[in-house]
């Protein structure tokens, strides 16, 4: 059975037999009032909703990790072999929860990767690259060991066992007036390629993975 041709509705309310229609009117007064009330209500909601949303999401779009240089001691304190444990402030004014432990030694041209030899010192972050627990360096085993889920790293921070997805993060270093200074954090993929925008623990950085875990405005 052939379908009846679709009837085109007239744009005029008078032609559509709408009660109380006016000559030449295309929108009923009721329709206009409904749309107007909904529109004004929507505007009023957005007037407080959008600023509140922006307020909550704001930190996502601003750099929150301050780039500061911190003194960790004179150059004589650090050799190329043993790590020296230091504590620096990641975030000031939040007591212990803003501090972190770093492991510092002098860069050794013999054993350090060429890509990282522009840094005079090696400053390794103790943040585990599995889920962020604090690793500690065990001198006897020459390994960084994570207490939470069994992550193990070699003496340069490279993953030698367990669930971590990339080597331990490092901090930029420089020497000023004979004193070692530690700056912003950077991340490494498993070939020690440097990522100046540090990524979170659990974010892979090898190959295509780096695009699934993009750099964020906060770092």
């Amino acid at each position: 059975m052939a379908r009846a041709p679709k009837k085109r509705k007239s744009p005029y309310t008078a032609d559509r037999n709408t009660p109380g229609a006016f000559e030449g009117e295309t929108v009923t007064r009721r329709g206009l009032m409904t749309a107007g009330a909904l529109g004004v209500g929507g505007l009023a909601t957005m007037a407080f909703g959008l600023p509140a949303l922006g307020f909550a999401l704001g930190p996502n779009f601003s750099q929150t990790e301050p780039h500061r240089w911190q003194d960790v001691g004179p150059e004589e304190d650090f050799g190329t072999q043993a790590y020296v444990q230091k504590i620096i402030d990641l975030i000031p004014d939040v007591a212990d929860s803003g501090k972190t432990t770093i492991y510092v030694r002098k860069t050794d041209p013999a054993k350090d990767d060429k890509k990282l030899q522009d840094q005079p010192y090696v400053a390794i972050s103790n943040r585990c690259m599995h889920l962020g627990c604090p690793v500690r360096y065990v001198q006897a085993a020459q390994r960084f060991i994570c207490p939470c889920h069994g992550g193990v790293y070699g003496p340069n921070g490279e993953v030698t066992g367990g669930p971590p997805v990339r080597p331990l993060d490092r901090f930029y270093t420089k020497v000023e007036n004979g004193r070692v200074q530690v700056g912003p954090r950077f991340s490494l993929d498993s070939h020690f390629n440097r990522f100046p925008h540090p990524r979170d623990p659990s974010n892979h950085l090898d190959g295509l993975w780096q695009y699934l875990y993009p750099s964020r405005p906060t770092t």
Binding site: A56, L57, P59, N60, T64, E65, L90, I91, D93, V94, A95, S97, G98, L131, G132, C133, P134, C148, P198, R199, D200, P201, S202, N203, L212, Y213, P214, R216, T218, T219
Partner: protein, 270 residues
């Protein structure tokens, strides 16, 4: 000027007496103090009822027909709601002493436990109550699943219940940080980094939770406001919707009961 004659509104011939104005029972014409006292409760409820029309609603809500075979498993939902109410009430009062400042949170939590009168009890109720609530949510969900109570027309209630389950989990996650001891700090670090492991959106989600790339001054108060304002409001609203649908759709009979034939039913009723 001619007087305008307004038409009279239609009135019933005799207005029924207002409730509470009938002749007193003691036989005297004037009600005594005793009569007033005896009727005070009923009069108050009547006054409210006349103005809100609550009683038809409450009658429909509370005096529902329940199917045969309704048993103790059907109380798990109410039990979950009372667990939530326990969390809400104890949480409100814990908030009177708690300070969501990274340098003071631990001390204020310790102050609640050690110094405040009944503090250890109220904090204990909140702490253990959270575990009880999670357990009850899962038992309630299991009851719904194994009794087939999620089927038509109750699918929407299952979905609302699923959102409530997620919100309960979020409550557990955000509440765990608040005592701010070593365990809660590192557990939250791990939890935030778990969020970060999701591809593409994960790192942004973690930034949202931390209010930045590292644990900072606002992380704790952010968790606190999500824990005590944002999610409880959503949970309370969704419990309302959940209950409304339960009252509207009724409960299901347990699956081991066979449906009665319509004929027998009608005979019984006659």
């Amino acid at each position: 000027m001619p007087k305008v004659k307004l038409p009279k509104p239609p009135m019933p011939r005799r207005t029924p007496p207002r409730p509470g104005t009938q002749k007193p029972v003691n036989g005297n014409d004037k009600p005594g103090l005793k009569d007033h006292a005896a009727e005070a409760g009923i009069a108050t409820i009547g006054w409210l009822d006349e103005r809100t029309g609550a009683s038809p609603f409450l009658r429909g809500f509370l005096y529902r027909k329940v199917p045969k075979g309704t048993n103790w498993f059907y109380t798990l939902g109410s039990a979950t709601m009372f667990a939530f109410l326990n969390q809400a009430v104890t949480g409100v009062f814990l908030a009177m002493y708690y300070d969501p400042n990274p340098t003071k949170a631990y001390d204020s939590a310790r102050h609640i436990t050690n110094d405040v009168w009944l503090g250890a009890f109220v904090r204990g109720m909140h702490k253990w109550g959270s575990t009880v609530m999670v357990l009850l949510v899962f038992l309630h969900m299991g009851r719904t699943f194994f009794f087939g109570a999620y089927k038509y027309p109750r699918e929407l209630n299952w979905l609302i219940g699923f959102v409530l389950l997620l919100l309960t989990m979020l409550m557990s996650f955000t509440g765990y940080l608040l005592p701010f001891d070593q365990r809660s700090y590192w557990a939250s670090i791990v939890g935030i980094n778990l969020n970060s492991s999701g591809p593409i959106v994960g790192p942004y989600l973690a930034d949202f939770l931390r209010a930045g790339s590292e644990f900072n001054q606002t992380t704790l108060s952010r968790f606190y406001s999500i824990h005590m304002l944002l999610i409880p409001g959503a949970i309370a609203a969704l419990i309302g919707a959940h209950l409304y649908l339960v009252a509207k759709l009724g409960t299901t009979a347990p699956p081991w009961l066979k449906a009665e034939k319509a004929k027998e039913l009608s005979e019984e009723e006659v």
